[in-house]
């Protein structure tokens, strides 16, 4: 095995060396001509060489191995922008930089001019990855207002347990197995209002990369998925603003230039609970929430050639306050701060350094109610360094170093009013190495590993190596086989359980020392086809196994008993996705057949989010002249639920001191059957959105009108076990938003 590996490395090195002769490298940034905002996944293509690249999440692209001393035509294209062609010339063994600004054709999709030579990486190792740009977020079905967490539920393999929660479950994994990053900084509880909405204001997003599994070695710390959100830099050319009002929130955005850079500020505040009450079956919950973000960036070649610095902050807070001392109060907030330095050098090397701090605080103040006092905090300080070097033959080496110092504390007051501290602290030091083989057009291979040099968990059986591999094999020009496999470790967990269909917040803690950190193994195999320009058809199958899954010990009675016990998880499924997008129509359809199991104490059961069949249909049409519409239809086969076997009259200690004959201390109590063996009726819902944008000289106004659950399907959410009352999900709900851009 060692011999094979040595030969492989030698071949790669030699190839790199041979390819390095008489060539130069072209790199650049693709940005919007009006705002200078990075355009992600833009195409850069040199027709004469049939070579090209796609810009990354920073708008950065790099094309190595360009023969020198000749002029070429570089074509840059991007959906919704005028294609631009410029002449370029590279120098031997030098990196030449061209920054390209593209001019928007207008928001209307039907005004897009035909993109010239579109370049698409034939061997990109992107199985189970969904890339969503700001433009795509804008045309997604909105609901009450655009919410990326709700929108990703339209993707195959992403499940939800109902309309009420924005929480999502990816390929049979629990919601706490999803990593959410904003500019590379972890957000621990990214939800407002009991999980109804995400804290991420879509107006601040430039792009999202969503990995449903098989993610490469630069990501770690979660078992199931990664959502990496890159925020906008802000308008570098002029000061501008937006104000948006929906039935739920009011928000503003301000962006503009600063010397050698730009800034962006966004703020959102809830002002009405009417919509929230609809989500929660007319329960009147006085939720009050806000979020605020800023980002500023600075890039000055006189100060440091090829460097870009940025600072960003994100703050969100929720409060539920009652004046009545018999009803408890709640508050929770996220504070995130990051500093980033992105540096391109004179060689095809770029590196980035990020320093970050993320803090979550949640609190339940019982006042004089019977609720338990709870206080949770997570402090996460991180240093991240990534180095990427691209060879002339397009192969890449990536090396990264991640240090995370995490401190969690969870104070729970038990029924005897005794506080229990479940907190601990530790450092996770991880190194990752990866080699991306891209030199063969028919083959792409991303081979790497995370090496955990130090772990948060003090359990001796933690995993040191987390190897990952991702592969693309193009068997025909229009057909590629894709696959991925990897090992993923998670050392943090939440102390909530899946039976809580609504909860205030999920307290995070480092996995207790008596449990091994949870470990998952992903195996993914897929087929991607692009027979026609406007037609995509993908099939992916996956298998995921999780060991040492920390599950709530529901047998716990006494405070000294463990809160968690180790369980197992297993999931597998098949996802079929197709997209037909002849302009101005974009039609998507997906079908998922999935199976998920959990095992606790030798007992196997379906988790609550185990949906056997899912169908998602989406249709977006741009009529031109500012009019656009979208429809989304979701069908899910029934969610698992636990059947009632009967009732018995249970003894309650309401009053120890009353004489025995004065009252009967027994009340009905539900006897439940085998966990989640029953199935609720099927779920389906149609949503509709209609948008109109009016452009004036000095401002743009956009109206969005949406209807959730157009045909008022009465989808069951749950039924109350004590009264038998059926609680349905969202009814027919029309909403509207208006946005003014200056």
């Amino acid at each position: 095995m060692k011999k094979v590996l040595s030969i492989f490395i030698l071949v790669l090195t030699c190839t790199n060396f041979i390819n390095a002769q008489d060539t130069g490298t072209l790199r650049g940034f693709v940005t919007d001509s009006l705002t200078a905002e990075a355009l992600v996944y833009a195409n850069a293509y040199i027709k004469e060489l049939n070579k090209g690249a796609n810009s990354d999440s920073r708008g950065y692209f790099l094309i190595p191995g360009i023969p020198t001393n000749k002029t070429y035509q570089l074509t840059i294209s991007y959906v919704g922008y005028k294609t631009k062609t410029i002449s370029i010339r590279v120098t031997k063994e030098k990196v030449v930089q061209y920054n390209i600004q593209l001019q928007a054709e207008g928001i209307q999709l039907n005004t897009i001019t035909q993109i010239g030579e579109r370049y698409k990486e034939k061997n990109e190792t992107n199985v189970s990855v969904q890339r969503i740009s700001a433009r795509e977020i804008e045309i997604m079905p909105k609901g009450v207002e655009t919410d990326v967490f709700r929108s990703i539920k339209y993707l195959a393999g992403v499940q939800s347990t109902g309309d009420v929660s924005a929480k999502y479950y990816v390929r049979g994994g629990a919601s706490n197995q999803n990593l959410v990053l904003i500019d590379n900084v972890t957000i621990y509880n990214p939800f407002h209002a009991l999980g109804l909405f995400s804290v991420v204001d879509p107006d601040m997003i430039n792009n999202i990369e969503f990995f449903k599994g098989g993610f490469s070695a630069e990501y770690g710390g979660r078992l199931s998925s990664v959502m990496s959100i890159i925020t906008k830099d802000g308008n570098k050319n002029r000061l501008s603003g937006k104000a948006t009002a929906s039935f739920l929130t009011g928000k503003i955005l301000l962006e503009g230039p600063i010397p050698n850079g730009s800034f962006i500020l966004t703020g959102r505040k809830s002002y009405s609970n009417k919509i929230i009450d609809k989500f929660l079956s007319e329960k009147n919950i006085p939720v009050d929430f806000y979020d605020f973000s800023f980002k500023a960036n600075y890039s000055n070649n006189d100060f440091l050639q090829g460097a870009k610095f940025s600072v960003n902050g994100f703050y969100s807070g929720d409060k539920i306050k009652h004046s009545d001392p018999r009803i408890e109060d709640y508050q929770w907030n996220n504070n995130v701060f990051g500093f980033h330095w992105f540096q391109v050098g004179d060689s095809p090397l770029f590196y980035e350094l990020s320093l970050s701090a993320s803090r979550f605080n949640g609190k339940v103040d019982p006042k004089i109610s019977d609720a338990r006092k709870t206080e949770n905090s997570v402090e996460d300080l991180g240093i991240l360094m990534n180095f990427t070097y691209m060879f002339d033959n397009k192969d890449e080496i990536g090396v990264g170093f991640h240090i995370k110092q995490i401190k969690t504390s969870l104070y729970i007051e038990n029924d005897r009013s005794i506080p229990t501290d479940l907190g601990s602290s530790g450092a996770n030091i991880s190194l990752y190495l990866k080699y991306k083989l891209m030199q063969f057009n028919f083959l792409g291979l991303d081979l790497g590993t995370r090496i955990n040099l130090a772990s948060l968990s003090k359990n001796e059986n933690r995993t040191v190596l987390e190897p990952r591999v991702s592969l693309t094999l193009r068997i025909l020009p229009t057909v590629a086989i894709k696959g991925a496999a990897g090992i993923y470790q998670q050392e943090l967990t939440t102390i909530s359980d899946e039976n809580e269909v609504i909860n205030i917040f999920e307290p995070w803690i480092i996995s207790p020392d008596y449990l091994k950190p949870a470990l998952s193994k992903h195996y993914i195999l897929g087929l991607e086809t692009n027979f026609f320009e406007a037609f995509t058809f993908n099939v992916e199958g996956y298998y995921k196994k999780v060991d040492d899954l920390p599950l709530i010990n529901d047998k716990k009675i006494l405070p000294e008993e463990h809160d968690f016990i180790a369980g197992k998880g297993e999931s597998y499924g098949l996802e079929i996705f197709t997209r037909i997008n002849p302009e101005p129509i974009n039609f998507t359809a997906s079908y998922t057949n999935a199976f998920a199991y959990k095992e606790i104490n030798g007992k196997l059961y379906y988790p609550r989010y185990d949906i056997r069949h899912s169908v998602n249909l989406g249709l977006e049409i741009d009529f031109g002249k500012g009019w656009s519409t979208s429809f989304a239809w979701i069908y899910n086969s029934g969610l698992p639920f636990t059947q009632i076997i009967g009732y018995y009259d249970k003894y309650y200690f309401d009053n120890f001191f009353a004489p025995w004959f004065q009252f009967d201390p027994r009340k009905p109590y539900t006897i439940i059957g085998t966990q989640n063996l029953g199935r609720l009726p099927d779920y389906h819902r149609l949503d509709f959105s209609l948008s109109k944008k009016i452009n004036f000289d000095w401002m743009n106004v956009k109206f969005d009108f949406s209807i959730i659950n157009v045909y008022n399907r009465k989808n069951i959410f749950y039924f109350k076990r004590d009264t038998g009352e059926r609680v349905n999900m969202l009814p027919f709900l029309p909403t509207a938003t208006v946005r003014i851009e200056l």
Binding site: I285, D324, P325, R326, Y330, V364, K367, I368, S369, D370, A371, R372, N414, D415, R416, S417, I418, D497, E500, V501, I502, N503, I504, D554, K555, I557, F641, Q643, I644, I645, G646, Y647, Y648, D649, K650, Y651, Y652, F653, F656, F657, F661, Q662, F663, D664, R666, P668, T670, I671, T674, Q675, L677, P681, N712, R713, K714, Y718, F719, T723, G724, R726
Partner: protein, 323 residues
């Protein structure tokens, strides 16, 4: 066009309908034994019931008597002494959801021995057997030297305090301080009890009592301001204060055995008002069924009011004065 519109409306009407769901699995007959042995009396009671289903998902709608009669119930508590509990029927308390008399098994001959094992066995008429074991906690002794006897306290303290001792390991106590008084109305004297909370919290015009939660300490204290507020609330807005005849204040403390403690914690847990948890786990220490078998020891301590203190509220003293 009309035809298509009509078809669309029919289609939407069908798919938007609420689908019926039967949340019930198969009912298996289960039996429930509830028996809480009190350590301060020889009179003990027990109930035996069975489970049930209802048609409308509302368990409170069940009116069928689920009590079981004619069972053989025996309790052993030290020295191999067997106590047999015999069934009788009694009238339901006012407002009970069941309207028929219910069956209680009782004895007047069982005083549990502290620090001993206690065992129960119920053989039902169909031959099913329910058993359980508990341990009688140690007795509680009020520490006279460190407990107040008079309200207000003789040394003008701002609080009253009661201390006690027990050899029980990891004890949990339920406490109550209550004022006993008579109210004279239309020539009729009614006995009343007002529980003194840990404190009062003002909410608008109302004073909300904050009652004590289970304690692990061997002492309990209440601020004199709380006792004053409780005394005021006895008559509340009634201007005829003199018709309230104040007797005394009684402090009661209960010590739960480990099984009862577990059961109590399992049932006393309350969730926040917004969270929705679908499946809850149940706790029982009854072999062969559901329910609870446990023991608690109880003791009490009387605190007397001075006449001056009672009169300061305009009330009438009901007992002799304390000096």
């Amino acid at each position: 066009m009309r035809k298509y519109l009509f078809l669309i409306i029919i289609f939407i009407s069908i798919i938007s309908c609420e689908e019926n769901l039967n949340p019930y699995g198969e009912l298996k007959e289960r039996y429930i034994l509830n028996c809480i042995i009190r350590g301060d009396t020889t009179f003990q009671t027990l109930t035996l019931t069975r489970d049930y289903q209802v048609d409308n998902f509302d368990p409170y709608s069940n009116k069928e008597d689920v009590n079981i009669k004619n069972a053989l119930v025996r309790i052993w508590n030290g020295n191999n002494k067997v106590t047999i509990l015999r069934d009788t029927t009694i009238e339901r308390p006012v407002g009970d959801k069941y309207k028929t008399p219910y069956t209680v098994f009782k004895t007047n001959d069982l005083l549990p021995n502290p620090n001993s094992a206690i065992e129960i066995e119920a053989i039902l008429p169909n031959g099913k057997k329910l058993t359980s074991v508990a341990s009688v906690p140690d007795a509680i002794t009020i520490s006279e030297g460190s407990s107040d006897k008079v309200i207000p306290p003789v040394d003008n303290k701002k609080f009253i305090k009661i201390s006690w001792s027990t050899s029980e390991k990891n004890p949990v106590f339920i406490v109550r301080l209550a004022i006993y008084f008579f109210k004279h109305e239309n020539g009729v004297k009614t006995r009343n009890v007002l529980t003194v909370p840990l404190n009062y919290i003002q909410y608008g015009e109302a004073w909300i009592p904050n009652y004590p939660k289970p304690v692990t300490d061997l002492a309990y204290s209440v601020d004199m301001n709380t006792i004053k507020k409780a005394m005021e609330l006895i008559s509340d807005n009634d201007t005829n204060k003199s018709r309230y005849e104040i007797l005394s204040c009684i402090f009661e403390v209960l010590s739960l055995d480990p099984e009862l403690r577990k059961y109590y914690f399992a049932t006393a847990r309350s969730r926040d008002i917004y969270s929705v948890k679908l499946d809850e786990t149940d706790y029982t220490n009854i072999k062969g069924g559901y329910g609870v078998f446990g023991v608690y020891m109880r003791t009490y301590w009387v605190l007397r009011f001075t006449h001056d203190y009672i009169k300061s509220f305009g009330y009438t003293p009901g007992l002799t004065d304390v000096k």
